[in-house]
């Protein structure tokens, strides 16, 4: 901190060194090499500066002592010209586009050639108008090493993102999202409804660019929250000049993306026959069998397809209007959007309205003001998921086909015994209510002041405000509300998060000839996030379906409100030294303090060093025409992960363990006053090559990152009264390679073919655990020397052909078989839920106005567990529920060879218990995007007086290939790769139109 104050003081001193003198006015015009006037070029001399207008002209009043002017503009080489007379004409030459590209990084921008880190960018054209409800879903396949996985097809569902593997076992593995400088609260903030996604209120069409920071050099400036990678989002700005209006629309429909006939629910005759067989096999008397079959609806004559009844083809649409423009002093950008998407099952839908305003104003030559406000409102209905009786997908597979959802008179069938004790979800989706309304505002106000030509101070206040209103009504007649004669909930959640950032940027040439440049930045930031939660529930409703708000209930059973907060204060500094654009050395340092850690360890220091060698700028390379870029990069550093609960460090006694409606307390948290950050130490080596006039561009990265002092949920003996506590212990590594390839095989006047390919391979290894002991985690194990998310299961050994018994391997040698479900000791590691390789392969063809793009997303080498298979494929377990077609492969006669055991009503041995039978290979390749488009030619456009018009038709997730033919549901099931009867992931077909005026 003292260092920072010193710097502030010295910069202030420097500013005093400038003196006022007599002035003169220099005028001129700036054009490109073809002679076209260039607007918006920054013209600077001494402390004075301006920019060119639409005709490329400028006029600048200068002290006589200033001898030269410098001209700079994005995409052009910066030019310095000595002043001769009072009028100058200047021609600027274009830079190599790829190298001069400015990349948004932490707390500022950098020229790509200055980068020492592993940074990937995604630009607006790849983000706009996609049929996905939030930007995190759009990122799938777009960045090497960024794994974005859905677990549900519910519009607005939360999405899991892992960058370069999972770096933590128990703390968060989600990256930090920074939107226009504000570190956001992201993720699923729903407390009552099934799923939500705070990013779903952000309209992807408002995004200009996304930068993904993947290594120490780029991440560490974000200190204690950078370990899972940082995703920096910049929203769109207006451009000076003629006001542009743009209209985008897309309409279409979606359907289930993947369906396996082997996992089709049985029809009534199949179910009844199978159940009879199972009852006989269980040894029931004929009278009992007949009665049971009748009770299960076997004589009802009904054959009802619940899956058809709960799934549907769903409409989808989005409309966006933007307007931008301005002059040299002020620019604006305005947008409004509407996005509506229905899921593939009943009452699964989302509708978003969003708007964005950005204003920039040059108060004077030194002071810029920037204002930005981005708001979105999402209304969402999501059905229950997993084992909830009200989950429509569960009912599709569990409800017996022998009973209809409707009575003969058309009313809903609400007879509990006909529904196997489950719920008629078709009725519930009509009469129960499940609403989520989510409103977000993200805004910032900033000012930057150029103290000196090379010294800039910036202060920015940003906030991120999210409100979630969740309402639910469960009717008194049937379903979850029946037991309490109806119940209704109203939950209110608010997150208000503010951040104040102050930075000082300094650029200085350290040698007279300009060969050695220094860019440095120091900053201070404070942040506070406050969560506010109100919950109420009322029960005992009047016997009607019309009164659905808690106001109508008679027995208030939940009345709760509380808050949860965290704070951060940080000081940081970064810099890079660039010698002749050949050698770049960078460094960063950040000191974070956080309320989330114990009094003994509130502060942590994070840093990075990086270097790059732009070989192509060496003198000896100037004659090598083949290679336009050759860059070697390397970085190492330390950053952290603070992704745990706000008060996890504190030993606590909680309240709410009430008895007879009197207050009761209970131990809440073991706590640890020395709890602190989890450390991540990434090492990255990279190579960027462009050859053949940038027709072939390759980026290659190798990385190894080690996570230490893991914030681990350490398992405790249950006899202590606790099951786990968070401690800093254990370590883990992620090692991998990433390749990004961009090739233009054909490029003629009319035809271009572009190939984009990215590939990532990551290998996770747990290096140490407390006492080296395994940590059980459901069907998985956390074991030293192995990868995280390893399945640890008993090995299924098929069916005994003699009697149809299920067999398992008795021990880990996988030799002896047994029909008794073997002990835990027989479990072995049987695959991993994270893929070994993933990425995408995209081909784009442009012929005149036509374009064709197809993108394949691939995910290889993982395994997927069918969590609910025991019920619909358990050889009789849960006999009152329906089964899937694969169950018909059961053993029926001696000598028969099959992998599904004899069907015994109630269950055959422990076949339904976890084993490798329910594990499938997870490899899949999916046609993520297929798009055919046409742009109207210029000649037509000018007649119609419009700037641009583009028509297209698109298919998303049109085709899915799976390696394992026994893949029960969509292969995309979250990073945990376990099915959970979620809304089916959709395939979507849309047509769209983009017009610019």
């Amino acid at each position: 901190m003292r260092k920072f104050l010193f710097l502030v003081a010295s910069f202030a001193m420097l500013t005093m060194a400038s003196f006022a003198q007599g002035n003169r006015t220099v005028k001129g015009k700036v054009s490109d090499s073809q002679g076209n006037p260039l607007s918006g070029v920054s013209v600077r001399g001494g402390n004075a500066g301006t920019s060119t207008d639409a005709s490329g002209s400028f006029s600048l009043s200068l002290p006589a002592s200033v001898k030269s002017l410098s001209f700079s503009s994005v995409g052009f080489s910066t030019l310095s010209k000595s002043i001769s007379g009072n009028a100058m004409d200047v021609k600027m030459t274009q830079e190599n586009a790829a190298l001069s590209e400015v990349v948004v990084v932490g707390y500022g921008t950098q020229k790509r050639s200055d980068l020492t880190g592993a940074v990937a960018t995604v630009k607006a054209p790849d983000i706009e108008n996609k049929p996905f409800s939030s930007v995190d879903k759009i990122l799938q396949g777009q960045v090497a090493g960024l794994q974005s996985v859905a677990s549900s097809g519910q519009p607005g569902a939360n999405q899991a993102i892992l960058i370069r593997g999972a770096s933590s076992i128990s703390a968060s593995t989600s990256p930090l999202w920074v939107v226009d400088g504000i570190p956001l609260n992201t993720g699923d903030a729903a407390r009552l409804q099934t799923t939500s996604n705070l990013l779903s209120t952000l309209n992807p069409n408002d995004i200009e660019s996304i930068t993904v920071l993947k290594d120490a050099a780029s991440q560490s400036i974000y200190g204690s929250r950078a370990a899972n990678g940082v995703i920096v989002v910049t929203t769109k700005k207006g451009k000076a000049g003629k006001t542009r209006v743009r209209f985008d629309s897309e309409v279409g429909s979606s359907d289930i993306a993947y369906f396996n006939e082997m996992y089709r629910p049985l029809n009534a005759p199949e179910y009844v026959a199978l159940t009879k067989e199972g009852l006989v096999n269980a040894g029931y008397t004929q009278a009992n069998i007949d009665a049971t079959i009748a009770g299960l609806g076997g004589t009802s004559g009904v054959d009802f397809n619940w899956l058809d009844a709960i799934s549907k083809t769903s409409p989808q649409q989005q409309y966006n209007v933007t307007m931008d423009g301005g002059n040299e002093k002020t620019t604006f950008y305005l947008s409004g959007g509407q996005f509506a998407q229905d899921g593939t099952t009943l009452n699964s839908k989302l509708k978003r309205y969003s708007g964005n305003i950005r204003l920039t104003h040059k108060l004077n030559d030194r002071l810029n003001i920037n204002f930005n406000l981005n708001g979105g409102n999402v209304s969402q209905r999501a059905p229950l998921a997993g084992g909830s009786f009200g989950n429509p997908v569960l009912s599709a597979y569990f409800l017996r086909p022998t009973h209809s959802a409707y009575n003969p008179d058309g009313s809903f069938n609400l007879v509990s015994t006909q529904l196997g004790g489950l719920h008629n979800t078709i009725a519930l989706s009509e009469i129960d209510k499940r609403y989520l309304r989510q409103f977000s505002l993200r805004g910032s106000l900033s000012a930057d002041y150029r103290i000196l030509d090379n010294l800039k101070f910036k202060t920015a206040y940003g906030s991120d405000y999210n409100v979630l209103e969740e309402d639910q009504y469960n009717n008194p007649l049937h379903g979850d509300g029946a037991a309490s004669n109806g119940r209704a909930y109203s939950y209110y959640t608010r997150y208000f998060n503010w951040v104040w950032t102050n930075t000082l940027d300094w650029n200085q040439s350290l040698l007279k000839n300009g060969d050695l440049m220094l860019n440095a930045q120091v900053g201070y930031e404070s942040q506070e996030s406050q969560g506010y939660f109100g919950s109420l529930q009322n029960q005992q409703f009047p016997p009607t379906l019309a009164l659905t708000w808690p106001a109508s209930g008679a027995s208030p059973t939940t009345a709760s409100a509380s808050i949860s907060e965290y704070t951060f204060t940080s000081t940081f500094a970064s810099g890079n030294l660039n010698y002749k654009n050949r050698y770049v050395v960078s460094g960063s340092f950040r000191r974070d303090g956080s309320s989330r850690f114990g009094p003994k360890n509130k502060y942590g220091n994070f840093w990075s060093v990086g270097g790059s060698w732009n070989v192509d700028n060496e003198a000896f390379m100037q004659n090598v025409k083949l290679i336009s870029q050759l860059k070697l990069r390397g970085s190492y550093g330390v950053n952290g992960n603070a992704g745990i609960g706000n008060y996890d460090w504190a030993p606590s006694y909680g309240y709410g363990a009430n008895y007879n409606q009197q207050p009761g307390s209970a131990p809440g948290n073991v706590g640890d006053s020395s709890l602190t950050w989890e450390l991540n130490k990434p090492l990255d080596l990279g190579l960027d090559v462009s050859i053949l006039n940038n027709r072939v561009n390759v980026s290659f990265d190798w990385y190894k990152r080690t996570s230490e002092d893991l914030l681990l949920g350490v398992q405790l003996s249950r006899t202590t009264g606790f099951s786990s506590t968070t401690r800093n212990t254990g370590s883990m590594s992620n090692k991998g390679v990433e390749i990004t390839l961009n090739i233009v095989p054909v490029k003629t006047k009319d035809f271009t073919w572009t190939v984009d390919f990215n590939f990532a391979a990551n290998k996770n290894k747990i290096l140490s655990l407390p006492n080296g002991a395994d940590i059980a985690s459901g069907n998985q194990i956390i074991r030293q020397g192995q990868s995280l998310y390893s399945y640890f299961l008993r090995n299924y050994a098929g069916v005994d052909p003699a009697n149809g018994d299920p067999l398992w391997y008795a021990d880990t040698t996988l030799k002896a078989k047994t029909n008794v479900y073997p002990g835990a000791i027989s479990r072995t590691i049987s695959g991993n839920s994270l893929p070994k390789y993933f990425g995408s392969f995209t081909n784009t063809f442009n012929y005149k106005g036509f374009s064709l793009e197809f993108q394949l997303y691939y995910n290889l080498g993982n395994y997927l567990y069918d969590s609910w298979g025991s019920y619909y494929l358990g050889s009789g377990f849960g006999g009152t529920y329906n089964k899937v077609q694969r169950q018909l492969d059961r053993w029926t006669a001696a000598g028969q060879v099959t992998d599904v055991p004899k069907y015994v009503y109630g269950g055959n041995k422990s076949f339904q218990s976890a084993s490798t039978f329910y594990l499938v290979k997870g490899d899949f390749v999916r046609l993520r995007n297929l798009q055919l488009g046409y742009s109207l030619p210029k000649s037509v456009l000018s007649k119609l007086k419009i700037g641009n018009a583009f028509f297209y038709t698109r298919g998303a997730n049109l085709y899915t290939w799976v390696k394992d033919k026994k893949m029960p549901f969509d292969p995309e099931q979250g990073t945990g790769s376990a099915t959970n009867l979620n809304v089916f992931i959709p395939k979507t077909v849309t047509v769209g139109l983009n017009v610019t005026f």
């Binding site: 049971t292 009770g295 299960l296 489950l422 000012a447 201070y524 409606q661 249950r718 009264g721 059980a776």
Partner: protein
């Protein structure tokens, strides 16, 4: 210098000011909904609040809330799973549970969680040590004994079979890093008896039917002694409750209304101790009542034909088992826990009637006349046939009367364990699950895998067979 305008200085000063505003307090945030343990257990009044937390945890679905009262009858011959069911406790109906079973792990964790809450009350040093403090600590001792009683009976060989067999870990102080091993069965019994003795001597108050009182603790001690096979002490303890407890006996006239009531009482009618569920704190769909009641959408478990056949036609208790049609079959439903909404039915832990049954059983080997007197105290109040038998028949009649009186209260299987009798079930159960002799390893539940995984010291002490 003139060119440097004021705003920049203001901004710079503001920047500097942020450092001074970086006060320590900005980073010091405490949980708004919890207290540090020292404060939460600091005063007499806090102790009462912590004690309620212990009682509340008894309501856990896998402890007294549902699993213990359910499987105590399912694993025996009273309750069976209807073929039309929601798949709850199937593995107990069929004796096919294993180390990964959720109910087994739940029972283990829930009981030890309650033990921790009790330990914190018992070990709190509160000054002055008032009568209230003693009362609360006394209640905590009794709750702790109840937890150990359930643990040792389900996870260990019965005391009557082998007092030196592996019991369950004894935990009486808070240590989150403790990895204890199993104590001997006899050590667990010694702890329970000592705890209940302390509870008896510390307590002075009767609060209501859902909290332990002096005589409820004594009643539990009587049951512990009986289970241990110490008839003399069981008799003394049971008679202490009968003669000095001040509880009134259930009669044929009050029987139906007693079981229909779901509220906590202070009338001292019959109930020595029950675990309360009320209109806001209850298990909703997971409540015990939901699995028996035919009025909701579960009603999975029914009374066996064998049990029903044991009641005389005049017996008022038959009224609790109405005949219904389920899945097309005429069956006997269970109506002991009828309330499935609002103030849910409570779980009975101990009743005065059981004290008479304990007294009868504990005295049968020494004084059959007394035994019959105690026994017929019950039969006469149920409109049942009076028992006049002698010798081994009388002993069996006493056990059968226990079965009839305490059915669906989680007691029957416990009797079969302590009396070392084979579980023999009728045609209501699947063919493969009708006979479980004393030698069957599944009569003891497996130690849950989660415990073995977290506690290396206990790993080698898994029950045989799993």
């Amino acid at each position: 210098m003139n060119q440097i305008k004021k705003p920049i200085w203001i901004l710079l000063l503001a920047g500097v000011a942020t450092f001074s505003s970086c006060k320590k307090e900005f980073l010091e945030l405490n949980s708004p909904t919890s207290l540090v343990p020292a404060i939460a257990l600091g005063k007499e009044a806090d102790l009462l609040v912590a004690l309620r937390g212990a009682y509340a945890s008894l309501r856990n679905v896998d402890h007294m809330g549902r699993t213990v009262p359910m499987i105590g009858d399912i694993m025996a011959d009273n309750a069976y799973q209807s073929t039309l069911n929601t798949n709850r406790y199937t593995l107990f109906n069929n004796y096919t549970y294993n180390t990964l079973d959720g109910n087994v792990a739940g029972l283990w964790s829930a009981a030890y969680n309650t033990i921790l809450r009790c330990n914190n009350v018992i070990n709190a040093s509160i000054t002055p040590n008032t009568a209230n403090v003693d009362q609360y600590k006394g209640e905590a001792y009794a709750v702790r004994a109840l937890c150990y009683f359930n643990l040792v009976r389900y996870f260990s060989k019965p005391f009557s079979e082998d007092p030196n067999a592996l019991g369950v870990p004894i935990v009486t102080t808070y240590n989150p890093d403790d990895k204890p091993t199993r104590a001997k069965v006899s050590d667990v019994y010694n702890l329970m008896i000592a705890d209940l003795e302390k509870a008896y001597s510390l307590m002075t108050k009767y609060t209501n039917s859902s909290q332990f009182s002096k005589y409820a603790a004594k009643g539990l001690q009587a049951k512990v002694y009986l289970t241990k096979g110490d008839n003399a002490n069981a008799l003394t303890a049971a008679l202490d409750v009968i003669n000095n407890g001040g509880f009134t006996a259930l009669t044929a006239a009050t029987h139906a209304s007693y079981w229909a009531n779901s509220t906590v009482t202070t009338s001292k009618l019959e109930t020595l101790m029950e675990v309360s569920s009320d209109a806001t704190a209850n298990l909703a769909f997971d409540a015990l009542s939901y699995l028996y009641s035919q009025a909701g959408n579960y009603g999975d478990y029914l009374a066996t034909d064998d049990l029903i056949s044991k009641y005389a036609a005049t017996d008022v208790r038959l009224g609790l088992y109405p005949r219904v049609t389920r899945s097309g079959v005429q069956v006997f439903s269970v109506n002991k826990y009828p309330v499935i909404s609002g103030d849910y039915s409570d779980t009975k832990v101990l009743r005065l009637s059981e004290m008479y049954l304990i007294a009868a059983e504990a005295s049968v080997s020494t004084n059959e006349t007394n035994a019959k007197t105690y026994l017929n105290f019950i039969t006469s109040r149920r409109n049942a046939t009076a028992i006049t038998s002698t010798g081994a028949t009388l002993r069996n009649d006493i056990i059968q009367e226990r079965r009839k009186e305490l059915a669906f209260e989680g007691d029957r299987y416990m009797d079969m364990l302590r009396l070392k009798v084979d579980v023999v079930r009728g045609a209501n159960y699947p063919v493969a699950a009708r006979s479980f002799p004393v030698s069957n390893f599944r009569r003891q539940l497996p130690l849950p895998q989660s415990e073995l995984d977290a506690n290396a010291n206990i790993r080698s002490q898994q029950n045989p067979g799993y």
